[in-house]
């Protein structure tokens, strides 16, 4: 599999017609399927004997319309946005980096190991900088093997990155349990970075400063991929390695660069989550955010601005769903059902819309 999987989803419409038109259009083909997904999932609730209106009411109220809930939603967005940035780089360059969860975890381990230690010798600002950079670096390193194999041996990265994620999850645990263990507790976890030294929250709210980093990451990545020479080089490699070689691009080198950037952002996402929210890393922690972000990025057609919108709604759904689960007695697994319905119906709407425009 060389080039892109996105034949129908990404025909570059978002690129040629500018972000504003793209967003307006996106809103149009998005609202319908969202409604349909809500109805479909509501039927599932109904079948389980739960009032869908009450459920959705809570979700919206907690995830979006309560100030507290909104803060949580925005905080949850931070790592997801960084992961979205990671995926946009990779997918636009035709690299199927399905290993972001492993890269994320190793980035998390790195900053959880570095920050509490460094804070004893360095000022907080420097600590955050070094720990975040370290997370990005280690994330990138974790993708080196798949990168080299893909660049120089044409080994499919889906296999290798999946393998590296399985490996990374175990390796992260091992590091926490054997190397960076906090001796002060019986729980297998790293030392904790004090709340005061973490990423500053925004304007006295509880919103993590990671949100800003995440937003910047996505926007920068979007602009780089769509507006710069470097971005075009990566996209060319992604669309057709043969054409890239013909055009004089150093395909292997660019491939390695894509892995490094993508995995670097994934590692950074882990770092942000630790430095901004958790403060430490517990063995066995693996939120597997990547699995959810992959489809979101596709639905956004690799467009950074659209990805921000999708990530926002997904976060609201997660936060609201966790809350509604408690109130209505529906396990939060329901969120998964809702998200799946959404993905499928949004993709379907994409398709119908595309066909309509092709016909018209």
């Amino acid at each position: 599999m060389s080039a892109s999987l996105e034949t129908t989803l990404d025909e570059g419409g978002a690129d040629t017609s500018g972000p504003r038109r793209a967003l307006a259009h996106l809103a149009l083909v998005t609202l319908g399927p969202i409604l349909a997904a809500l109805v479909l999932s509501g039927l599932v609730l109904l079948a389980l004997g739960v009032d869908p209106f009450a459920y959705y009411g809570y979700v919206a109220q907690r995830g979006l319309f309560s100030w507290l809930g909104l803060q949580q939603t925005l905080t949850r967005m931070a790592p997801l946005l960084c992961l979205a940035a990671a995926l946009i780089v990779a997918f636009r360059a035709g690299i199927w980096n399905l290993g972001i969860d492993g890269q994320f975890l190793l980035g998390a381990v790195t900053s959880a190991a570095l920050a509490p230690f460094l804070i004893t010798v360095l000022p907080a600002g420097a600590v955050l900088l070094v720990a975040a950079a370290g997370a990005a670096l280690v994330g990138a390193l974790w993708s080196l093997l798949p990168a080299l194999l893909r660049a120089y041996q044409q080994v499919n990265e889906i296999i290798t990155t999946l393998m590296m994620t399985f490996l990374g999850v175990s390796f992260a645990n091992l590091l926490v349990k054997l190397v960076f263990l906090d001796p002060g507790t019986t729980v297998p976890q790293t030392r904790t970075l004090p709340v005061a030294d973490r990423l500053p929250t925004l304007f006295g709210t509880t919103i993590s400063g990671g949100l800003v980093l995440g937003l910047v990451a996505v926007v920068v990545v979007h602009l780089v991929m769509t507006r710069t020479a470097f971005g075009l080089k990566l996209r060319t490699v992604g669309e057709s390695p043969l054409a890239a070689r013909h055009a004089g691009l150093d395909v292997p080198l660019l491939t390695v660069a894509v892995f490094a950037i993508s995995a670097g952002f994934a590692g950074l996402a882990g770092g942000i989550e630790i430095l901004g929210v958790h403060g430490n890393l517990q063995a066995g922690w693996n939120p597997a955010y990547g699995l959810a972000v992959i489809p979101l990025v596709f639905l956004a057609r690799f467009n950074g601005f659209a990805a921000i919108v999708f990530v926002f709604f997904y976060s609201a759904l997660m936060i609201g769903g966790e809350s509604a689960a408690r109130r209505i007695g529906v396990p939060h697994y329901f969120t998964l059902v809702l998200v799946a319905n959404l993905l499928i119906l949004l993709a379907l709407a994409e398709y119908l819309d595309h066909r309509r425009r092709r016909a018209g």
Binding site: G12, T228, A229, F230, E239, L242, G248
Partner: protein, 539 residues
Amino acid sequence: MVAAPSVPLGTMQAAATPARPVPATSPVVELLGVTKRFPGVLAVDHVDLALLPGEVHALLGENGAGKSTLVAMLSGLVEPDAGRIRVAGEERRIASPRAALQQGISTVFQHVMLVPTLTVLENLVLGMSWWRRPDRAELEQRLAGIRSAFGIALDLDQTTGELSLGEQQQIEIVRALLRRSRVLILDEATSMLTPQGADELGALMRRLVKSGLAVVFITHKLDEACRFGDRITVLRLGRKVGELAPEGLAAMDQAAAVEEVVGLMFGDRSIAEARAPRLRKAEGSPVLSVRGLTVTGATRLARADDVSFELRPGEILGIAGIDGNGQKQLAEALAGQRTAAAGSIVLDGRDITRAGVAERRRLGLRYLTDDRIGEGAVGGFPVATNAVLKEIGAPPFWSGGPFLLGGIERPGRIAAHARELIDRYDVRTPDEATPIGRLSGGNIQKVLLARELSGDARVVVFNKPTHGLDVQNIMASRNRIAAIADAGLAVLLISTDLEELLDVADRIAVMAAGRLTGIVANDEGARARIGALMIGRAA
């Protein structure tokens, strides 16, 4: 952009229709008012066509006229938006390639439709029910029949992808014959063949129609159409603009027929005049010298073996030979896409044997690939982006340079540049933002040609530059190639079309089995000497 202008009906049609005699046999396939629209293009516009058994029906038209789209509708790849199709007098829907095959319509497509990783045998039996076992003995028996009747022999155990395009086209023809079809469609089947090969194919078509088939023959070579075709239909901007019936065609001599057809194809736009012979200005020291260049390929033929030549500024060196004899390997080695196993390449006194593609391009070495869809263009990118694909980051299309990740794109400049090229090279596209993959093959070629010829160059390597172009574009392209040589550039022109080489080259080398078997000056006796070289070595 491509609106449907009201082109007056071709004179032939107007004259021929009322006087048309009742055909001796009824048509196998009839198209009635068939129409197909693509985004931004009316590809086929109310076309009527009748295919008669025992006739070679030549279909002509400039690039993007809608020929392949017509074929796609006959072979079940796309369905018409309007119009009807009759097979053997009955109205049919050809909803799938399978339906087409069942109606007895076999097609050899413009782009090879074989699975490269399968063997020849496997490609021939592809399509049978999944539980059946390919029966080699039976197949060999039938192939023997085809060999004696039509003179095509195949090595069943070769991996298809390792064969030359010409050989692959033969496999497709054999496959069509194995199917015992009523209609055989050949979409630019001669484009990969040598003149002899084309003649053989012509003879083959004659034998086929004699056995009762109807043959549709699409080509850009007008003389072929007039020689092999019993009937000629001309398409223009999706419309049928004329039809030359057998009686009319038989009454004309070839030159008159060609003239008639050209008039139909291009309307009042006159075709470029044949050039006056160029003033040979090739002098001074060689700009490019190649010594003992050897590159390995997948097969014995597909390699360059100890190739040496020199190119002077203002000179056009032609490379003739049957496709798949190492021309591509040579071209790629020159362009830097393939590393040389031995030998040296010196450009302007500088050894570039180890230099990469980008560096060679920077030094003025250009390469027009023959694989326009596979490597020449990125199908999903707009025409405009493809036009600058080899200059990513270069001013004036990008600003800011290396400090801003290689530069910030300036879409306006890129678009303007593309529009200029589209204008100058007469590229048929809705606009410069259209993905290049949607253009017809010939129009993609024009964009690539435009891309290679823009900007500064010292040496240009052309690999089949006019392949798939219509007559007018071929003439225009050849003129451009001659012009750049006149401007002092050195040109290496690889072509399977000997006429082309004889038309523009100064010297012509023949390549066979990876070696240059001789270089002759392009003077009066050239054709004979090249023919001898080709037969002597390549047979």
